[in-house]
């Protein structure tokens, strides 16, 4: 048998209520593999509340706190304080929230948690819209994407605003560790989770999480789409440890973004000019990332 490249143990139960091919469901499964059983997860209102905890069931073998959508950052500060008061120093406290609950509604609570230097991991699973309530645009929805609140028609071309740079906002708080992760690269994903687990202080994980019904693609393509997102530069994989940025998945030549966009119904309306505009932005961002990595240099031995 080929050697397992990620932990064998499962801390997420089957039978959960995620759609077939759900990226966020795989994200939770991989996250818990890396974190193990001594973990408490705080979940705000989002798809994962419905996926994981319809009363009286739970899809997690670890403790779960359901909390309000604004409150993930505050709730993990509170959980950390409670765990410390009980002498549970070995427990990892994790917030697991959607992009709407992170980039928009819970942004101040996230900022507060980072600034307080809470010893916890905040994981944002980014399915790029408010999916649980039926695909409304969020601050993290990319430019040009169709959602039910950024329609496509004679007078509208999908989302007119660019995607919010959540990693940029988080990095401005100088966290101990911040990284981008994708379930399409499970080994890189697991390494980052285990690295984060071993650190103390505020840590942030930005997880790419394709949503078949929301992005309108075949559920079998979840993994392939995640790979394309990284290979086109749409979702580069990198980490920032002690302020030093390192790209963890080197891409020598970016594939054209159309390879990624063409697979999804939410981008079907885009014209060649609009695709070129996205391409130009992706390449600019990628060059900036490479420049920052060069500037930061390798970690001191």
């Amino acid at each position: 048998m080929a050697k397992l490249t990620i932990p064998a143990e499962e801390w997420m139960f089957s039978g959960h209520a995620a759609c077939p091919g759900c990226g966020p469901a795989l994200a939770m499964r991989l996250l818990l593999k890396g974190l193990g059983p001594r973990t408490i997860v705080s979940v705000p209102a989002c798809c994962w509340t419905v996926i994981g905890t319809p009363f009286p069931t739970t899809a997690l073998r670890v403790g779960v706190l359901d909390n309000a959508i604004e409150a993930t950052g505050a709730s993990i500060s509170g959980l950390r304080a409670a765990a410390d008061a009980l002498g549970l120093a070995d427990v990892t406290v994790v917030g697991f929230a959607g992009d709407g609950g992170t980039a928009d509604i819970g942004l101040q609570a996230l900022s507060g948690m980072l600034e307080r230097r809470t010893d916890a991991i905040y994981a944002m699973y980014d399915n790029e819209a408010y999916m649980n309530t039926g695909v409304q645009r969020s601050g993290a929805t990319p430019w040009g994407a169709w959602t039910t609140t950024t329609p496509v028609g004679p007078a509208a071309r999908g989302k007119p605003e660019p995607k919010k740079d959540v990693m940029g906002i988080v990095l401005a708080h100088r966290p101990v560790y911040a990284a981008t992760l994708s379930p399409s690269f499970p080994e890189d994903f697991d390494r980052k989770v285990e690295l984060a687990k071993g650190l103390r202080g505020p840590r942030f994980l930005h997880i790419f999480a394709p949503c078949p019904p929301g992005w309108r693609f075949d559920s079998a393509e979840t993994i392939a789409l995640g790979r394309l997102a990284t290979e086109t530069g749409v979702f580069p994989l990198y980490e920032v440890l002690d302020g030093r940025l390192r790209i963890t998945r080197k891409v020598s030549t970016l594939r054209p973004v159309s390879d990624y966009l063409a697979k999804q119904g939410r981008f079907q309306h885009l014209t060649p000019e609009e695709i070129a505009r996205i391409e130009a932005q992706v390449r600019t961002d990628w060059e900036r990332l490479l420049a920052r990595e060069r500037e930061d240099g390798p970690a001191p031995a």
Binding site: A2, G15, G21, P212, T222, A224
Partner: protein, 284 residues
């Protein structure tokens, strides 16, 4: 008043079916009502929707618990959901299935009808083979088997309210109308009285959620099942690694095995298997 309950799975269009039915009834000059059950509407998950049709304004606003007609968009639900619960004597059970109406195990005293709406939908190019959209074909069958709405009104409702491929949907409804087959009610001692409601789940002290989600299998969600052909399997375990439902386990011999109770049929394992040794096979 005619009360109708739809059972489908998320993505098949059960909610839209109840809306279209109400629109068609309105075009027939009736006073309809339509609304879904508010629950988990995940693609593949069981979904319930309701419709009422009357000549007078309808005041009642509650779920339909004693329907005159039950419409089942997915035959797999017959095994997992008590679809005929509360059906009134003399009522109608309409199922999308390849099975003949006579062979349908409906309750005593209930008329039965069947239509192969999946085949119609696929022939008309509606939805994908993984998830055919069967609602308009089923509505055509419903129009004929129940007389709830006229086929003309259904044609017009589809033209006016179906945004994608209205022509193919209208043709599917006409196919359904022509192809539906009915059977008389089964005879025998009448069925037991309405199902007693299960008692409320007691809330224990301590953690609120006390059942694992593995107490709620999701096998009924899927349309296609992965079949793993061992001969070509290299035991790379990619299928295990990428399954969002942890529905593949690795045996001591290293070969993957399907945990069929929990597979939703997303197709990821088949797509990611490097030697392409997993085949997605349509559920019977």
């Amino acid at each position: 008043m005619l009360e109708i309950r739809f059972h489908g799975r998320g993505g098949q269009g059960a909610v839209v079916a109840s809306e279209l039915l109400a629109q068609a009834a309105f075009l027939d000059g009736k006073m309809p009502q339509s609304f879904p059950f508010f629950g988990v509407e995940r693609r593949g998950a069981p979904v319930t929707a309701f419709a009422r049709i009357d000549d007078r304004p309808i005041r009642v606003r509650t779920s339909v618990t004693e329907p005159d007609v039950v419409v089942v968009l997915d035959p797999g639900l017959l095994a997992t959901t008590p679809v005929s619960e509360g059906l009134r004597p003399g009522g109608l059970l309409l199922v999308n299935t390849r099975t003949a109406a006579e062979a349908l195990a409906g309750p005593v005293g209930i008329r039965r009808a069947t239509v192969d709406a999946t085949r119609i939908a696929l022939a008309r190019g509606l939805g994908t083979s993984m998830m055919p959209i069967v609602n308009t074909a089923v509505l055509g069958a419903l129009s004929r088997a129940s007389g709830a709405v006229s086929p003309e009104a259904l044609d017009r409702a589809i033209a006016a309210f179906v945004p994608a491929r209205p022509d193919a949907n209208r043709d599917a409804a006409r196919d359904g109308y022509l192809q539906v087959r009915a059977a008389p009610a089964r005879e025998g001692p009448s069925a037991a009285p309405a199902h007693p409601r299960p008692p409320p789940v007691p809330i224990p002290e301590g953690p609120i959620a006390f059942l694992s989600s593995e107490s709620t299998p999701t096998a009924a969600w899927r349309t296609f099942t992965p079949v793993i052909h061992r001969e070509r399997c290299t035991r790379c375990n990619f299928c295990w690694k990428f399954c969002p439902d942890d529905a593949i386990e690795l045996g001591a011999d290293g070969f993957p095995r399907l945990r069929a109770a929990f597979c939703k049929g997303c197709g990821i394992c088949a797509a990611e298997c490097p030697p392409k040794t997993i085949e997605m096979v349509a559920e019977a």
